[in-house]
Amino acid sequence: MSKYKVNLKINNIPISVDEGTTILDAARELNFKIPTLCHHDDLCVAGNCRVCVVEQKGARLLPASCATPVSEGMEIQTNSLKVRQARKHIVELLLSEHNADCTKCFKNGYCELQDMSNDYRIGDHIFLDLVMDKDKELDISSPSIEKDDSKCIRCQRCVRTCANMQYVSALAVTHKGNNMRISTFLDKPMNDVVCTNCGQCINRCPTAALTERNYIDEVFDAIYDPNKFVVVQTAPATRVAIGEEFGMEPGTRATGKMVAALRRLGFDKVLDTDFTADLTIMEEGTELLTRLKEALVDGKEVALPMLTSCSPGWIKFQEHLYPDLLDNLSTCKSPQQMFGPLAKTYYAEKVNKNPADMVVVSIMPCTAKKFEAERPEMRGSGYKDVDYVLTTRELGRMIRQAGIDFDKLEDEKYDSILGESTGAAVIFGATGGVMEAALRTAYELVTGREVPFTNLNIKPIRGMEGVKEASVKIKDVKPEWSFLEGVELNVAIAHGLVNAKILMDKIRAGEANHHFIEIMACPSGCIGGGGQPMPTNMEIRKKRAAGIYEEDEAMVIRKSHENPEVAEIYKSFLHEPLGHRSHDLLHTHYTPRKRH
């Protein structure tokens, strides 16, 4: 449909915009910022908080600028007396139902409502205190997400996130009028519903109604316990986002500073989840090739396409919604959970520590990893493999608490061993990255040649499209892989669970011709994870992705199978991918769950 231009005036300045543009976006083009709360660039229009109301000449009502498209000849005032009065009232009303316990609040200083209250100089509440759930206990049933209804301003961003981006709908609007609230199915606790712990709701909550469970004090306790040997691992996506906690541009590569900061925080060793990402490629790549061989040579009934298993939010989603397809899920643990048992076995032995005295902490872009670490099957080492999971945001807070001037830190390197990694590992952080890393290795394993893409960059599977598909023709294979000669390897990638659903429905209907599918629960992959700095939007995530790919290109080694520490661990400990030890430590099984 061709776009017509619409002419209007905003604050007396003429502007011409595409038909269908909202007043809010037109005003943004003129650099007039209209305050918003229920609006979020990632979400569909709601128009329910009403703070973005503007005055339209000749109109009786103040339209919500986020929800009203421009029309020809419209004259808009974004800050008239009428608008100011209405906006102030609305903020006052929101505050009257909000537990404004700001000094004690986890979001103090990061709260959109607080900012607005400050901008409009809302002092004493003129209205009566209506906070509904002040005395209600917080829902801390989930190891990932904390829900505090007394802070909720009912903007429904979380509800739209959960339904439209993630197709989960663990959170929904219930009741009406003065009782209207955001709740779960039958008001059950968060750990007892379909919640995948992805944390996308947290990323979009303007207040502290939804936050991550934080484990900062527990980690500091471990650090200061002289009997504990505390190692920390950092996920790929954290390094291009942690800088945002300190005012840096999204996508700034702060790997070296992050390592330095972790050391100053007192971690005994600073290690890298990227190492186990490389290991994941070895295990998962081998698993894929094995499945293909079983299907093509042995003619066995094998569950294909194989689905990646790095994203714990995705795994729980599948357990709830597609339990019939769990056989398709790779048995590989996520890199975080491969790291844990290796740290408490292989590594403990190398550094001569008793695993009982070890504490494994991970820094993740993710809230679902907190849940993952708690899964009962994640005790391959005989201990709890990963003791504490902190989000990128929590790490930022720890660094601030410790008074470390992040900006001024000199770059430092990860400790060895379990610290060496490749470019293939770091791209795990962006959607399509696991697939790209797997292809770099698998193609070379099978053909003896590098993947046929310039500079190893498999561009067709990069980018932010919700579902990406590609095929790679395999030819001139090594003799031992002759069964793959001429095979067209079909792959697909989805990020954001609503997109995962598209592929899963195809598989269930038998319409998918893919061999291998990468799925990440969060939009744009881990760089858009539920534990990443706020705010989030597509522009920010694109910058983080750019940082990830720069980091990859800057690495000397860019293929997982060339990681020397990976070679070493197979030689001296694991012996072979999918071997006996791998099976015990690096692979797992899944649990079918119900929708309710």
């Binding site: 329910n48 009203t68 209205f127 209506l130 009406k176 209207m180």
Partner: protein
């Protein structure tokens, strides 16, 4: 008294509805729509949008499917006229829907029936079955179904009604788009009140002139009123528009009327001193039919308190001004009554209600200020002491 209130019998009088339809189908859609526009008929649910224009907008949309919805979610406190129309002359309502369907090009119609009116279902289904038979004989393709509400007042708001029909929470939508372009299931939809549809049918029969000559410039024709409260003659009356409240009270009052609530909980409270100057209609105070009379034994504080309790509970809760505003108004007058807040707090609340009027998402929040301000302005002392 200049003139007596004229009682009219357009709505409840028996007519050959099939004959009207047959004749209408001989005419073009535009002719009928023009007649409805010309008659000056405005929506009888309360908001008063010109019916002919609504039909014209829906007609002008191109779509593979369009819908007619008869809004029978009669939830306004003090209104019970649609129930009576559906009981006494359901065939006229159905014919009005078919007429609308003919005009806008819809082959499907729905009656959104208030949950509390489910007792009407058997008789309505019977009427619909008969009507379908007749339409078949007339070779007119139009199917009517009933969709039962679940008891939410806000679902009388047309977009919330359609959300409810689609199986979602009954929450009003953002407008635009308006239902005539994107309504039920995203298709052009004309949502009309029960009474409006019957009037449209009668205009098709009688021609616009007869309708137009009744009432005033902005409020043509007659209207069915639900009269309740302190009156010796409660009930349902079809009256010519254009009367003043004085005339109305003369007819229906008990001799001690101190106030009339025109338009239900979302309408205005008029006190005795203004009866003479207040016209019932779009020039003065419009009503969807509800007329509640109060005599001097009534506490206006209690009445306002009841209305606000109703609104506080019946707000869908999605938009801030309405959800929180209703609670603040209610708790606010309670606080003033108890002396927790000074009488001057009422002015703060009135300012707040002004914000609710212009910043709320739908008609519910926008009209809470009507009873609030009119009762506070007229009976301030009853609220405070």
């Amino acid at each position: 008294m200049e003139k007596k209130i004229k009682k009219v019998d357009l709505i409840f009088g028996k007519v050959d509805h099939l004959d009207i339809l047959n004749n209408s189908f001989q005419r073009t859609r535009d002719e009928i729509i023009l007649d409805v526009i010309d008659s000056g008929l405005r929506g009888r649910g309360g908001a008063g949008f010109p019916t002919g224009l609504k039909w014209k907008f829906a007609k002008n949309e191109e779509a593979d499917q369009k819908y007619v919805i008869c809004n029978a979610d009669e939830g306004e406190p003090g209104t019970f006229k649609d129930r009576e129309i559906l009981t006494q002359v359901p065939e006229k309502v159905l014919a009005g829907m078919a007429l609308c369907g003919y005009c806008i090009g819809a082959s499907e119609g729905y009656i959104y029936l208030r949950a509390e009116y489910n007792f009407l279902l058997p008789s309505l289904y019977k009427a619909i079955d008969q009507f379908h038979e007749h339409l078949k004989a007339m070779k007119f393709d139009f199917t009517i179904r009933i969709c039962s509400g679940s008891g939410a007042y806000v679902c009388g708001e047309e977009t919330a009604l359609m959300e409810s029909m689609e199986g979602k929470r009954g929450e009003p939508r953002n407008k635009p788009p308006f239902p005539t372009s994107e309504g039920y299931l995203g298709k052009p939809t004309s949502v009309n009140n029960v009474e409006t549809l019957v009037f449209a049918l009668m205009i098709a029969q009688e021609g616009p002139a007869k309708f137009k000559e009744m009432g005033t410039f902005d409020s043509r024709g007659s209207k069915v009123f639900s009269v309740s409260g302190d009156t010796p003659t409660p009930g349902i009356y079809e009256l010519e528009l254009g009367m003043t409240l004085e005339q109305f009270v003369e007819e229906f009052g008990d001799g001690d009327t101190k106030a009339v609530q025109v338009g239900g909980a979302s309408g205005f409270c008029v006190s005795r001193k203004d009866f003479r100057s207040t016209l019932i209609g779009f020039e003065g105070i419009p009503t969807g039919g509800s007329m509640m009379l109060f005599n001097s034994s009534r506490s206006m504080y209690n009445i306002l308190n009841d209305y606000l309790e109703f609104m506080e509970e019946e707000s869908c809760g999605q938009c801030t001004p309405c959800r929180v505003g209703c609670q603040q108004l209610l708790k606010g007058i309670e606080a003033v009554k108890r002396g927790v807040k000074p009488p001057s707090y009422l002015e703060d609340l009135q300012k707040l209600s002004d914000t609710m009027r212009i910043a709320s998402k739908c008609g519910l929040g926008q009209s809470v200020p009507n009873p609030f301000n009119s009762i506070i302005n007229n009976f301030r002392e009853e609220i405070i002491y």
